[in-house]
């Protein structure tokens, strides 16, 4: 029994069969990017917005040639932005770049060492972007109060970190993630920090609606194989969450009947 046809992820009114969202950075080349993303079955892929190399590499393929916007939901991010103004400018450029597509991943960073979000600036930027008709998926800390506030502002998805971006440390604060999920009416997507398949499964078992990852796949020895592992982990974790796990007990409980023993 598969739930993939009935159990859909809905973000900003659009529904998706895959609950794995992937980044497109740090790959060896465009070919590896394309193969890993195909193996992940992700439908939502993030991109960054950067200066063009004017006069250089004119024939170099662009990421949007490899991941055409008519096949993927492109999620431009504001990575590298440390203040409200640059994050808002980046989103406006991205919307123009993508012909009015208004879904964005907002991240306003506070510190280069941790890449933790500047939540005060994030809240301000989210408010401006929502008023400017953006559909904002927002990277934030694993703080239930901030998550609630971002939802109240009108963000279409709230994306708490599991651990610092690119760290692969796994879910450092599962209880906070669970609290965020329980409070929320918008999708909660763990963004950043997963290192391997079991981390992704744990996020889904906690009730998250999806997981967004980049480095865990791109920095694996075999990114294409890891992308496939992540796809399965997300599906397994989601099904386990929906199935409802057994209560954990301290002591044993025999699986075979006691009655009818012949000795």
């Amino acid at each position: 029994m598969s739930t993939s046809n009935t159990d859909r992820l809905i973000i900003a009114g659009k529904d998706y069969g895959s609950r794995l969202l992937v980044g497109t950075g740090k790959y060896k080349d465009m070919d590896e990017t394309a193969r890993a993303i195909a193996a992940s079955s992700a439908e939502i892929v993030t991109i960054a917005v950067r200066r063009t190399n004017i006069g250089q590499n004119r024939d170099e393929p662009n990421i949007l040639d490899v991941l055409p916007p008519d096949r993927y939901t492109i999620l431009p991010n504001t990575a590298g932005c440390y203040d409200v103004d640059t994050a808002v400018r980046t989103c406006r450029l991205a919307r123009e770049l993508l012909d009015g597509h208004n879904l964005v991943k907002l991240e306003v960073l506070g510190d280069e060492k941790t890449l933790f979000p500047d939540v005060i600036a994030t809240l301000k930027a989210a408010e401006i972007l929502v008023k400017d008709d953006f559909e904002v998926m927002v990277y934030t800390n694993d703080d239930p109060i901030v998550a609630r506030e971002l939802e109240a502002i009108g963000c279409v998805a709230v994306m708490p970190l599991a651990a610092p971006i690119g760290s692969g440390l796994g879910i450092r604060n599962p209880l906070n993630i669970r609290t965020i999920v329980e409070n929320a009416k918008v999708p909660i997507i763990v963004d950043a920090g997963v290192g391997t398949a079991s981390d992704a499964a744990v996020a889904m078992e906690l009730g998250c609606d999806g997981v967004l990852m980049n480095t865990a796949i791109a920095a694996a020895k075999n990114p294409v194989l890891m992308a496939s592992a992540m796809r399965k982990a997300i599906e397994a974790g989601r099904e386990a969450f929906l199935a409802g796990r057994m209560p954990a007990k301290r002591f044993a409980s025999a699986s075979s009947p006691i009655e009818g023993l012949f000795f």
Partner: protein, 66 residues
Amino acid sequence: MKIILNGAPREIADGMRVSELVEYLEMLGQRFAIEVNAELIPRSHFAEHRLAADDRVEIIQAVGGG
């Protein structure tokens, strides 16, 4: 006149329009977006927007990222 194009000084013809700059840089047919002095210039305004000396022009594209 001199403008700052993607962070570097650049000489262009006086009063060049954004559409002319795009042509001059041989970027027609590519996917990009432009801001001038931190303000987005929609594609539909390229033909009417004249650049001025010392304008800071950013031409951006999509790249791989997380």
